[in-house]
Amino acid sequence: MELHELTIHQARERLKRREITAVALTEALLARIAEIDPRVRAFITVAADSALAEARTADQTLADGSPGPLTGIPLAVKDLICTRGLRTTCASRVLENFVPPYDAEVIRRLKAAGAILLGKLNMDEFAMGSSNENSGFFPTHNPWDLSRIPGGSSGGSAAAVAAGMCLGALGSDTGGSIRQPAAHCGVVGLKPTYGRVSRYGLVAFASSLDQIGPLAKDVSDAALLLNAIAGHDPQDSTAVPEAVPDYTTFLQKGLRGVTVGIPREYQAAAGLDPEVAAAVEKAVAVLRDLGAECVEVSLPHAAYAVAAYYVIAPSEASSNLARYDGVKYGFRDTSKTDLMEMYRSTRSRGFGREVQRRIIIGTYCLSAGYYDAYYGKASQVRTLIRKDFEAAFESCDVLISPVAPTPAFKIGEKVDDPLTMYLSDMFTLSANLAGIPGMSIPCGFSEAGLPIGLQLLGPHFNEGRLFRVAYNFEQATDHHRRRPPL
């Protein structure tokens, strides 16, 4: 096995036994990036020099015999997580030259755990998109079929992990932006409970929905990454002061006594590809064979999630993105001498089409005379969606569904039709509206060889249940072992 093919848990063992060095591992991944990334284009910035310096420090720590949980593990993060001294662009012209003066809390934690940062990963501009085609710089390609999208908005994170250009990655998920690209690239992706992971230093899109989470080659790696980043942080007033369990303790054999709920509404969803439906059905059979009890449940308001989300998320975005005015950081059109003209020109030249579209939708929904009809109504429907989940979890431990209605589509296929693009988020948005954790794990392949993802949802702060079910499914299948033919 080549070094770039290792999982985090495999690399950890080899590093600890001193069979490999962190420098050799980092060099192998940098070589892999140099070889593969010109075709996949997952990285916006590769931090080769600092990564190698961190690797040398990691080797010293390993030699001293006091490694942290991720010492010597080369990772990469989505380019909306602030890294001190390392350009953080959000894949936007607005932040093209922004160099954060501080680290996000998750970066501080990864560094404290000993991880090595290889670089920053491509995404849809300001995390708005499902395909990475909205990157302000260039689209990322799906490693399984370079003519297809990797998913979005954490498309660079999913593609980099799938292509073996980092051992694991962080992404962010506002409406499915970790889970959907994980599904399209055949890797594991977890959106934790809202408040489980600090958002300090995460560039804000929709503050009541955004959550940082891991993308990994398998379930065990995802547990190791969540262990490193989860926990309370006084710098984020929405980070919840709830004890963090060791998530690897949930990676145990057996599903006896576990009840899996299958939402009726998702089975009959319009636009669900037959190959995806079949793969999910097969997954249900696997879980049943493993001892889980499978029951049908109902989420009566599931059909309204997309509509509620596309009021709430753009509303919050229009407010959050008001800060990009060319004054304190980021792009400024310096040719304007009038303040208002400077604002307008800066924002119009800086933001891409999708970002402008969402700012306009959000501003409209929040404007005088429309607030109650749009934002108010959507916030009430959000309550009903949250209560649907509470009721469903009274009769089951986890819910399962598809992640995306189809396998990865072609680059350019949906780019002129935002509503159709939005509808492809129908299975993932509800978890953000309800604040519950959601995981995507590989559950099969289409006939064309494209990965298909299975979504697991659990009650607030019950990531452990997702890890348990996902781990058992993974042990019983080999989808996660397939690698793209690059």
Partner: protein
């Protein structure tokens, strides 16, 4: 059409965006479609339902009232498009 070109222009002005003629047309169509889809929410009976602004509500995230280190002036200004005498420099506001 659910939203007129004039409304798009009005909202764009509120959001400090200026749109090219072609973009106004495209946005009016696309945003009109999206808002028409959003109107399906009107089919939900929400009478007496409290709104949710945060899925997990915490009240009063207190911390001790002690000074902690903060960004130095130079670090805060490091990304400024224009600066002078330790401050952000902007076009003249009052004329």
């Amino acid at each position: 059409m659910k939203i007129t070109k004039e409304e798009i222009l009005h909202v764009a002005a509120l959001a400090r965006l200026e749109l090219e003629e072609a973009a106004i047309e495209t946005f009016a169509g696309q945003i009109g479609d999206i808002l028409a889809y959003v109107d399906t929410l009107n089919g939900v009976d929400t009478s007496g339902v409290a709104p949710t602004s945060h899925a997990i509500s915490l009240t009063n995230a207190f911390r001790a009232d002690v000074l902690t280190p903060h960004l130095e002036n130079a670090a805060a200004l490091a990304n400024a498009p224009a600066k002078e005498d330790g401050s952000f420099l902007v076009p003249k506001v009052i004329t």
